[in-house]
Symmetry: C2
Subunit: 259 residues, 2 copies
Amino acid sequence: MANTDMDEPTGDRDFVASLEKGLAVIEAFDASRPRLTLTDVAKLTGITRAAARRYLRTLTKLNYADFDGRYFSLSPRILRLGYAYLSSTSLSLRLQPFLEKISQETGESSSAAVLDGDDIVYIARSATRRIMSIGLGVGSRLPAYCTSLGRAILAYQTPAEIEAYLERVKLEPKTPKTLTQKSDLRAALEAARQQGYAMVSEELEFGLQSIAVPLIQKNDKITIALNISAQAARVSAQEMEERFLPTLREASEALRYTF
Amino acid sequence: MANTDMDEPTGDRDFVASLEKGLAVIEAFDASRPRLTLTDVAKLTGITRAAARRYLRTLTKLNYADFDGRYFSLSPRILRLGYAYLSSTSLSLRLQPFLEKISQETGESSSAAVLDGDDIVYIARSATRRIMSIGLGVGSRLPAYCTSLGRAILAYQTPAEIEAYLERVKLEPKTPKTLTQKSDLRAALEAARQQGYAMVSEELEFGLQSIAVPLIQKNDKITIALNISAQAARVSAQEMEERFLPTLREASEALRYTF
DNA sequence: CATGTGTGTTCGCATTGCGAACATTGATAA
DNA sequence: TTATCAATGTTCGCAATGCGAACACACATG
C-alpha cells in the first residue's frame, strides 16, 4: 500500500513530512509482510532506502520495532498508538456491555464498527461462537461496501459523500453474491436508509449473514454501527429481521446521542 | 505521560527526532485526556507550542486526528498503526481459536497478552461473561506485577532482567492484597517459574482471580502468556488449579514453538 | 479601560533529514 | 575459483525542513 501522495508538495510550512513518512513506514507492515528489509520498506512506501533506514532505526530505538540484523518487524509497543485512540474515546468500554447483552439475548456474535475512509474498523466485539474464517478483533478492518456495518453507516452520509464514495470505490466480488454494480449498491444504501437497517447475505463470505443498525451520535452524526452476525444456514434473513432487529434497535436507542 | 527523554541528544544522525515527537504527540491522548488543545499537547510532551501545532496539524491533514477549531482528538485511522502490528504477527488470529476453546470448556473468560516494557498488552480475548469493572479489549494494557499473565511471563525472563525490573518497578497496591514488597514478588515469580504457572488472587481487582501459563515461542523465548479469569466467590484457587490449569497447559503445548 | 496572562501563529534561520554516491554483500556466469 | 553484476546497506556534504523566539490575539481581572 505505497503512499504515493507523499510526493505531492503541500507547500504547507505547518506540515511535518517526516511524520508522514514515519507513519507510512509503520503501515508498510501487514499480514502478508510481517518482516521487511529496509529496501522492502523503501519500495512499499516510495521513500529512499536511506530514509527508510533512518525511520526504521528510529522506530527500533524507540522500541516500536525490532531488528534481527537484516529484517525489521513491529513490536507490541505499536499498540500504544491504537490504544491512544480507543482509550481516549472509551468506545470499546462503553459499547462492550451492550454487545455482550445482544450476544447473550440472541446467542449470536455482535460487533460495533466505525467508518474510516472506505473501510469499517471493529471497535468492540462479543463473539459467542466462531462463524467466520477470518478473525475479527478490535482494529480489524473490512471494506464498507459488502458489510452490513458499512452499509448501515454509508446509508446515512450526505448524498454528495455517497456519490463520491460510489465513484471511487472498486466493488470487488468477495463471493458470487457480492453486489458489483454501483447502481445496485446505491439502491441497497437507499433501502437501508429507508428501513433503518442494513442486511447483507453472503456478500462478504459464503455462509455469513448479518444485520446492522446505525448509532446516532451527537449532532445527529453517524459513523458507528452495531450488528449481529449468524450462519446463513441456521438463521434466515426473515428471522434476523424479526428476532434480531428489535434487539439491535433497542441497544442503538439506548446509546443514542451518547457518543 | 510526558516523554522527557526527547530532550536527550542522541548524537545519532540516523535518528529522526521528528518521528519521535510525532509519536509522543499521539500517545499524549488517553482516557483521561480525549481532547487536547495544542498547548495541552505541548505541556504533556515537553515540545514547544509551535511544534505541537505542526504535528497536530499534520496528523489532522493525514486523517489521524480531528480538529474542531480549538480541540484535537484522535481519529479511527490511528487504529491502522496498531493493526499493522496485529495483522503482521497474526497473533490474534492464531490465538483466538484456542482462547475460545478454553472459554467453551471452562465457562470462563480467557485471554492472551504479550509483555511490553513493564506492562502486559492484551492481544486476544474470549469473554464468556463480564467479571471485571474495566473493559479489556485488544490493545488494553495492565501492569505486569499484579496480573497472572504478567507474572507468567516475567517468571521466565533472565535473572538480570528480573532484577532490573524489580529495581525499577513501583508496586502500587491495587487492592489490600496486592504484593507491595519486592522480596514477596521475587518469591512469587520464582514459585511461578518452578510450578510452571502463575496464580493471582484479588491483587489487581477485588473479587478477581486468574491463573496463567507461559507460551514457549521459537528459540525458547517467552513474552506471551494465556490465562483464565473467574470470580473469586465462585471459583476457588484450588479449583482453578485442578480444573483450569490442564486446559491452559494443553493450549500452550499446542501452540509451543509456533510463534 | 488598562494590564496581565494564556494561547495561537509567523518567519528568519540553523539543524535535521535528504539522497547521490559509495561500500558491501551475495548471486551468477565463465 | 574468479570476475562481474545486481541488490542492498551506508555515509556525509548540503539544502530544505522543522525550530522556537518573538509577536499577535483573545480573554480574564482589577
